[in-house]
Symmetry: C2
Subunit: 193 residues, 2 copies
């Protein structure tokens, strides 16, 4: 039950809830336990849930034409993970979702979340704000990905996501940053000297 607190702790600073609303929110979400490397969504699946990470670490990634993995996002406690387009439009997912660490995810079905929006208006506000932030963060990442050197991007990643860096293998950080693991290694060598 502890992990349900985690959910409320992330919603309430943005959208305060009454006691009844809190109950309604918690009732809508179902916990799911994941082992390390377990998949939460495959490419081609239709994403049926919004997903909140109560514990652990996940990643979303896609496979390019050469079968190479490219990481779009990491998520840890308090983050939401999804193939949002698949969820919103109910079309087959482009991305995979996988646990990088053992994890507990709280899931809410699409129809139930829609119902929740009607019964608990603050939740709609909460998601609209999350969506805005995601859009802006994405825009920033686009720009920075194109203009900054790999070294600059890595330094920024470290500052912004220090905890994530310590929890995922280095080659995944490289994938997220859009460089080869070899190059990231030489960057680190250069920085730490």
């Amino acid at each position: 039950m502890d992990y349900k607190n985690t959910l409320l702790q992330h919603i309430e600073p943005i959208a305060p809830l009454s006691e009844a609303e809190r109950m309604a929110v918690l009732a809508a979400f179902q916990p799911k336990k994941l082992k390390k490397k377990e998949m939460l969504l495959f490419k081609g699946d239709i994403s049926q849930h919004m997903r909140f990470i109560a514990k652990g670490c996940l990643r979303s990634y896609y496979l390019d034409d050469n079968g190479q993995e490219h990481i779009l996002q990491f998520g840890i406690e308090g983050w939401w993970v999804n193939d949002l387009y698949s969820y919103l439009t109910q079309t087959p997912a482009e991305y995979f979702l996988q646990a990088v660490e053992p994890a507990i995810v709280l899931q809410v079905q699409r129809s139930q979340l829609e119902a929740l929006f009607k019964r608990v208006p603050p939740m709609e506000r909460f998601f609209r704000i999350k969506m805005q932030n995601a859009y802006v963060a994405q825009q920033e990442r686009t720009i920075k990905g194109m203009r900054m050197t790999a070294e600059q991007r890595y330094i920024e990643f470290r500052e912004k996501y220090r905890e994530i860096e310590q929890r995922v293998p280095q080659y995944m950080v490289a994938s997220y940053l859009g460089v080869t693991p070899e190059h990231l290694s030489t960057i680190r060598k250069k920085i730490n000297s």
Copy 2:
């Protein structure tokens, strides 16, 4: 009045309107004429309108620490342009909006659009869908910006935005793609041979 048709033609395929709703929508928007190079929004301004391009071509861009311009987006007839984060959160804009060609923009004030959402529900649906598409397009651009070579990005840009390519100077395309004008020039030379 012709340009108001342009607006309806872009809304109705996504969100059909009754005659009364059409009237309400049109009444909320105000046309604004722009000369070439005229600014529509400055960095630091708070964006007070949603903006639809009825005619012409605009761009959004930002200035980096060295005073260099970096283009985020172009827009032509039927597109929406804004610093969305500034508009949504009513904080100072990070980006500039400028006409690349003489343009006519249809603007609706934030408070009026909110009122319109209540009176004309299909409009809310229309904007939610637009927002989703924007987020996904942005996500795709992030990935492609990091993994693809400048040549691949240019070829894709050409296919996807052939009309825009013919309407904006080449150095702006380079800026959008994240390369120097010189390099884009050599890419073009290579391709056309």
